[in-house]
């Protein structure tokens, strides 16, 4: 497969996680309690999937590798951050500081989507 094809396939997998997280971050602020609670659970499950060392889900493994590379630079904590955020969200709604950390995770995935897309278009 050419680089374009490989990056396209990576983009599809990354995009799924980036979109799911962004939509859940929107739903988390929904005034309807049931929707916000559902989103909280969804994000916690997603983060658990990403930090699960035993996971055999190829897409989750890919996202883990990307966050492992990308998160330390933006949040200083790498995958530990995902683990602690998952634990928090399983217990209670996030504080403003935690929301901002979730935002960092979403941003890291989004940046990776953008750079993968740029590679598809042959920009680097």
């Amino acid at each position: 497969m050419s680089d374009v094809g490989l990056y396209g396939s990576i983009y599809e997998q990354l995009r799924f996680y980036a979109d799911t997280l962004d939509r859940a971050l929107v739903a988390l602020r929904n005034p309807r309690v049931d929707l916000a609670q559902g989103a909280r659970r969804e994000i916690a499950t997603l983060l658990r999937e990403i930090v699960d060392k035993e996971s055999t889900d190829p897409a989750a493994r890919l996202v883990t590798a990307i966050l492992k590379q990308g998160l330390p630079a933006v949040a200083g904590q790498g995958l530990t951050l995902c683990e602690s955020l998952a634990a928090t969200l399983e217990q209670r709604p996030p504080s403003p500081a935690e929301l901002s950390q979730l935002e960092q995770v979403a941003l890291t995935l989004d940046k990776e989507c953008s750079s993968t897309l740029a590679r598809i278009k042959g920009k680097r």
Binding site: S2, D3, G5, G8, S9, F16, R29, K53, P58, D110
Partner: protein, 382 residues
């Protein structure tokens, strides 16, 4: 202020989506294009609905959600751009070669019991073979339908959707085997990192190198290696010859591992090593030996030598595990595995092409021209 800009930009994207839909709203030239046409229409409709949501959903319009709104919008725009340059381009400029190769892919799909719908083929690639897994569009270079020696790469491309497709229980066992292999890669590099800490060498350099190598494997190499293996297991030695041919033509050192940037594909030597392991695993030992001899001659002729980093990046035991996991996965999804004496039209054609090429290189071109003409004639009548 940015809100009014975003609203206008979203409306413009919506309009662009409608224009694209208009461009493919015509009578189709062949039934082979129906699936791609439907997928493109559905994707455009979905994108329009999502863009409308970004304009009207009261929650996403909140000021504190502007980051999410922008990110989602950019991705919808990217979807449209990709759709425009791939699926829509193929539908608006169909060619008889696209139809011939799409029919060939359908035949391969039947021969090997491929568990997903066969992709549509378009001869529009600017690079090499590639597949858009979500559109199920396989792109090949313009002249590829007039030659046989690289067509084994179609089998490699068919493997990528087996990893990328989500929520399909039929192919889950293949993905699980792939996932097991990724876990093994992560374990391997974890152990290497621990060993590095105990070593007396330049720890920092190797720590960084090991992180990058793990990243390369999980991000791209494992996927490529599994696809190579799928091609070997479902087609046989013709795919290894095709890799030989591609490596011979490219001026890339097959042992080279570049850790200064992102290396998307594994070194060609590692790819050949897994192919040879795989041929032996399915009992095609004589065929593996023939490829091995020619490969060694090619490497000798180019004068390149293995580097220390090569073996560190591609340890033999990882290559062996990949071959075993990929074979297990391919068996579990009930694809037909090659073995000595197996016969079916496309399998025979592509393997015979390579036999002809080596047996009588001077006459090969005439033989190939005749075989291609028959193939296209058969496709036109089907």
């Amino acid at each position: 202020m940015i809100d009014s800009y975003l609203n206008a930009a979203i409306r413009q994207a919506e309009e662009r989506a409608r224009v694209l839909k208009g461009k493919i709203s015509q009578t189709l030239q062949a039934p082979e294009l129906i699936a791609l046409h439907q997928t493109c229409q559905d994707r455009i409709d979905y994108t329009i609905r999502q863009l409308q949501g970004l304009l009207t959903d009261p929650v996403i319009l909140r000021k504190d959600l502007v980051h999410e709104r922008i990110r989602l919008f950019r991705r919808f725009l990217a979807d449209l751009a990709l759709l425009e340059t791939t699926g829509i381009a193929a539908l608006t400029r169909p060619h008889e070669d696209d139809i011939a190769l799409t029919k060939l892919i359908f035949q391969i799909h039947k021969e090997i019991d491929y568990p997903l719908p066969p992709p549509t083929v378009a001869c529009l690639s600017r690079d090499y073979f590639s597949i858009n897994t979500s559109l199920r569009l396989l792109e090949v270079p313009l002249a590829e339908s007039d030659f046989l020696l690289h067509l084994p790469d179609l089998y490699h491309e068919l493997a990528h959707p087996l990893i990328a497709t989500r929520n399909n229980p039929r192919i889950k066992p293949y993905q699980t085997e792939y996932g097991k292999f990724l876990a093994l890669v992560a374990d391997h590099f974890e152990q290497e990192r621990a060993e590095n800490l105990r070593s007396t060498g330049p720890k920092e350099y190797f720590a960084q190198a090991l992180d990058l190598l793990e990243y390369f494997w999980i991000r791209g190499w494992a996927n490529e290696i599994f696809s190579d293996l799928f091609a070997i297991y479902t087609l046989g030695q013709a795919y290894a010859w095709s890799h030989f041919h591609l490596t011979a033509a490219r001026g890339v050192d097959p042992y080279d591992v570049q850790i200064s940037g992102f290396m998307s594909h594994p070194p060609d030597q590692a790819r050949m090593e897994v192919m040879l392991i795989a041929l032996d695993l399915v009992g095609l030992n004589a065929e593996a030996d023939a490829v091995r001899q020619k490969w060694e001659a090619l490497i000798g002729a180019t004068g390149v030598r293995p580097t220390a980093l090569y073996r560190r990046a591609c340890p033999r035991h990882l290559l062996e595990r990949a071959s075993i996991n990929a074979l297990e996965g391919t068996k579990l999804i009930a694809c037909r595995i090659v073995k000595p004496g197996i016969s079916s039209p496309v399998h025979d054609l592509l393997n015979t092409a390579w036999q002809q090429f080596w047996a009588a290189p001077n006459n090969y071109h005439a033989w190939e021209r005749d075989a291609i003409a028959k193939l296209k004639h058969g496709a036109a009548r089907a």
